[in-house]
Each structure stands twice: as structure tokens, then as C-alpha cells.
Subunit: 120 residues, 2 copies
DNA sequence: CAGAATCCCCGAAGATACTG
DNA sequence: CAGTATCTTCGGGGATTCTG
């Protein structure tokens, strides 16, 4: 049985919720960031490797998104001093805290695809 | 202890994952849809009510986003035949399946805010 | 109130070329 | 390879007005 909640209480709860959601969206906005983090969840990746995996992203965008993810401490950029320089990107511990969200998105997407396929 | 996974296996797993993520992102792209669904999670809402709650959205966008959500069966539009017509939007059962994602986002956002506040 | 229509602008993002 | 720099285009989306 559902509890009754006063309308004002209800409203403030809702706006709190929305504020938290917005805080998250501010960090992972755009479609690329989630995909990038999702990809890095499977291990360190080099720049080109990421560009290949994150379908459709251009170098400029990838570069920019990575920089922003780095600023928010979600991703680490590691430079190896080889002759053509080698760069690897890896997810940080903090970045890993986003994985539950990403897992849920992957789960939902898989379910959704199944639903669309069989139903239609 | 972590299992070893062959690289090809690894790669296909990763791209499956990314594909699922993209399927989800295709449905809930933009920052508005998540907020709208999040808001409707607290109960039916009228157009203006939504516009007030979803911080910063304009009428045109709200209208467009709602139409898309409706097309994807995530939201229902209910019209009451009153003198100035009344319209209510409500989340569908299918739309509710997105709530785990949104919950996670709200949780993360709250945590993140706390972290930013205390650390800095 | 719940939107549709119109006008308009700026910034996201692609293409291309260049560099260390 | 791992980007940066430059130029350009396209459309997301705001502001405003209008209607049932």
C-alpha cells in the first residue's frame, strides 16, 4: 500500500530528483561520453582504437570529449614516450562509479532490441 | 579472480555492449527526455507543469520531446474534454522500465554533488 | 491552457589539411 | 600515431506570436 505524501513534499522530492539527474547529465551529456566510458570499461584503449569503436565519432569530437572526461576525473590519459608517441586512455576509479548507470543502459538497450525484433 | 578472455571475444563483447548502449541512447537522447521521464515518475503532469519542472525547457522542445516519447510508447498523452482543454502526460508501463537507469543517475548525481561540495 | 507556426541565430560538429 | 587548426555548414532550439 502506497503512502500518502503531501503535495509540497512530493514536489520538493521531485525537484531534488531532477536536480540530481541534471547534475549527472551535466557530466555525461552528449551521446559520446557514455559510449567512451562504456568502451573504456573493457580496458585501456588508444586514441585510434577508441575512434574505431565509438561508431561515428570524429577525431575532433573524440579529442574534446576525452579532454572533458579527463577534467572531470573520469578518465586518465597516459602517455608513453615511444618514437611515434603512444597514448592510452583508461577509466579512473571514479569513472567506474558510473558503470551501474551504463550497465543499466546496456541491459535496457538489449531488452529493447529484443522487444522490437520479436514484436514487430 | 578475473577470467581470461580471448581478445576477439573481448572485442565482440565490447561492441555488443556499445551497440546496446547506443540503442538506449537513441531513445533517450538529449538532456530533456530523461528529465521528463524522471518528472513523470512522480505522477501525471500537465504541459505547463512539466515545463515548470523541467528546468529551462521551452514549449517547442517540450512538445517535440513529448511527441517522440509518445511514439516510443514511453509516455501516454491523455486529453480531457474540458472547456479550455486539459492534457495530462503519464509514464507508461514500458516507460517505467527506464526507471532503474534514471534512479542510478539520480543516485550518482546526488553522490557527485556531495563529493564536489565537501572536497572543494 | 496546450500547443503550432514563424523567424532567426549561434554553436555543435564534419571535412580537410597540417604537425610533432 | 595522436592530435590541432581552420573553415564551413546545418539544424537544435530560443523568442515571439497566434489559435482552438
Amino acid at each position: 500500500m502506497r503512502e500518502k505524501i503531501a503535495p509540497e513534499r512530493m514536489h520538493s522530492e521531485c525537484s531534488m530528483h531532477l536536480r540530481s539527474i541534471n547534475d549527472t547529465l551535466d557530466i555525461i551529456n552528449g551521446k559520446w561520453k557514455i559510449s567512451i566510458i562504456g568502451s573504456l570499461g573493457f580496458g585501456k584503449k588508444r586514441f585510434m582504437e577508441l575512434q574505431r569503436e565509438v561508431e561515428g565519432i570524429g577525431a575532433k569530437m573524440l579529442s574534446k570529449e576525452l579532454r572533458e572526461l579527463e577534467m572531470n576525473k573520469l578518465v586518465n590519459r597516459v602517455v608513453y614516450d615511444t618514437k611515434p608517441v603512444t597514448v592510452e586512455y583508461e577509466i579512473t576509479e571514479y569513472g567506474k562509479t558510473l558503470q551501474p548507470i551504463i550497465q543499466e543502459m546496456a541491459r535496457w538497450g538489449a531488452q529493447h532490441r529484443k522487444k522490437i525484433m520479436t514484436r514487430k
